[in-house]
Amino acid sequence: MLLSEATNAGGNFSLVPLVVFFPLIGLLLNIIFGGRLGEKAIGWLASLASGLAFGVAVLLGISLIGSHGAGVTVPFLDWITIGSLHLQWAFRVDTLSVTMMLVVGGVGTLIHIYAIGYMHEDVRHNGDPGRYRRFFVFFNLFIAAMMVLVSADNYLMLFVGWEGVGLCSYLLIGFWYDKGKDGIGNAIAGKKAFITNRIGDFGFLVASFLMFKFFQPLAEGGVFSFDFDSVAAIAPKVASPVILAITLFMLLGVAGKSAQLPLFVWLPDAMAGPTPVSALIHAATMVTAGVYLVARSFAIYSLVPAAQNWVAIVGGVTALFAATIAVAQFDIKKVLAYSTISQLGFMVAAVGMGAFVAGMFHLVTHAFFKALLFLSAGSVIQGMEHGHHAVEHDPLLRRKMKQNERLGSTHHFDPQDMRNMGGLRHRMKTTYWVYLAGALALAGIVPWAGFWSKDEILAEALHLNPAVYWLLTIAAFFTAFYMGRQVIMVFFGEPRSEPAAQAHENPPIMTVPLVILALLSTFGGFLNLPFIHTFTHWIEYTIHPAAEAAEAGAEAAAHAGPWYMWGGLNLIVAGLSTLLALIAIALAWMIYTRRVEALKSLPAARRPDDPLRSMLGPVFTGMEHKWWVDELYEFLIIKPYVAISRFLAEVIDWKFWHDFFHDTIIAGGYRGLAWIFANPIDLGVIDGIANGLAEGVRGLAAQARRIQTGFVRNYALSVFVGVVLIISYLVFQLR
């Protein structure tokens, strides 16, 4: 079915390809004409492209409301058709995909706009304004790829977007490919992200192979197309071990993309990218693709509780594990990165348990507040850079800064290190307030968005998987603690460095998107208020069967449950988590204001950079060093791989196959044989031996020279030997 036919399907559904094409057109225009446009024009063009995609998503959403949530598939083009395999480029419009489109388009557009301002500074700060256009080209490409991912009608098209966003992630992490550790650190970080993701993709691929092998024979007409509907329809007929294998391999993919254990290691490094990248790709959208995938595959996950359990455990453990690490980070973005991993753990745990709606809900709210946090962090960083710039150009301040004990040289000043910040709430007011909103949302304080979504997850967890519930609850406590720590370290107290003291607020092009996001973070939770459950109903149009199974209990409890159930809200869970969050914030306040004050009495050299360090000792070191996971992988995987490939290449392939086997065995044997035939045998090995016997020991070299006979009698002997041999053979034969 082509586009024109799809139009007849009704509504605006036929517009869905535009969500992909608008960003693509945007990036093509920027590639072709960008050279002649100014920075502003480039940025706005890209933002417009993203905005238009968002607009289409809104139209689609309206159409969905009009069709009472009934989704449609909009085929676009045949892709791969071989025998029983039939793959299409086809778009899926249902509440789940449109939700994602709205998030991607909406948050994406805001971040685009923010980036217009941010990148203007960034490219100058990094000394290569030429890359401004490239940034927006990549950004639009990302939106396009992400749109492919969320609007796909089948697993393979989803995979195209899946790897496409991975590519954009790679490109944008390594955007400043000549910066970072040793000048190559950023590029390596990008590579790490891509390769780690590829490991996940390997799982995805194997899952799809399994799917084809076992689903295809059961497919209608024997032709399998990987589309979600037919997978859902066939899955119950397939043996459950197969489904288990498929879901677990898919989990590997999820772990890769959504930075879960054991593949989370790339995400912190991904912070090497410019901050809008971290916000858009590594917080709001791309990393949630794994969650989306599990939600998409609800039909098959629902069939195998074991797999669900695994997913939930992975999510829960990751949530806690990452949260502990976030506590001990000093880089403002690293904290947020680990926080993202932790929050993704919440979502994965949710969708794993079967609480698909809760997971998706948290995905949406998280997109709001984590994008906000990253962008405001970017705002802080840029503020710090402004401050640093001011310091650099003011000799007086520079001298002052030189005296600062911990910052030996101004050149190695790190504008992202929270230890250099402090007191910014006075100098960057807007940023402070929006940051606070984001932090509260993340910490899960009523009534900010995070509270509602996180609480829904916790409530479901208590009901579905108590173990995970406790993991998540503790993680939530840590969350509140590290956010408190971060806010205090950045915005409260006295400036701990000269640049911090000189920092100033950014222009409106950056702050306006922040404010919008802050509003979303604050009120986003109202999408799914108790009793109303707008979001739940919206999503349940799509995830209907699973929702029935998983949420029936919750629904029932909402109406006829015990006293603590209030319109679907578990008051005990909500109360406990809120209480814990408040305690954590209070604890953070105690430590990072009181304790810091107390430590000031110590001499500078012995004063710890973080009060927790002295309180927790080695535990803190462990958390600070991310529990040495990177080192472990380096030792277990990377080093062996490099060693093996070196060994294979240099020893096996080159020394053995190439040199030894070819040059020595084949070529050498060949030459040796030729020499033997040419010299001793042809010209008298007998001569050499006999001479040796007759004349005693003589130099081999002399022998070799002498056996070059040329004697006619030897030749005659050769003939005669031939005669004797032939006659002997014949005599033997005739006997």
């Binding site: 040419a678 010209l683 070059q708 006979t709 040329g710 004697f711 006619v712 009698r713 005659a716 002997l717 005669f720 005669v723």
Partner: protein, 100 residues
């Protein structure tokens, strides 16, 4: 009546002695004479077989072989003389510049 095979055996022995002459002797002329002995031995076999079959063709073959031998001797001795002029030797063991 002597059995023909006696002659053939004798001829074989003479032939082999001739061949040994080629293999053992170093004087080119003697080598050449040994070849003549070989031809001669073959001739003997021929004549013996001719007698056996009462076929004149055997004897004629011998006649032709003799002619060939004469021709060879003419060329061969000329060659040996020529070589002797160049190398002042007819020792076949000293004629070995071509080798390898």
């Amino acid at each position: 009546m002597v059995p023909v095979m006696y002659y053939v055996i004798l001829s074989a022995i003479l032939f082999i002695i001739g061949a040994l002459g080629v293999l053992i002797r170093r004087n080119a002329i003697v080598v050449f004479m040994s070849i003549e002995l070989m031809l001669n031995a073959a001739n003997l076999a021929f004549v013996a077989f001719a007698r056996q079959y009462a076929a004149t063709s055997g004897q004629l073959f011998v006649f032709f072989v003799m002619t060939v031998a004469a021709a060879e001797v003419a060329v061969g001795l000329a060659l040996i003389v020529a070589i002797f002029k160049t190398k002042a030797s007819i020792n076949v063991d000293q004629i070995n510049t071509l080798k390898g």
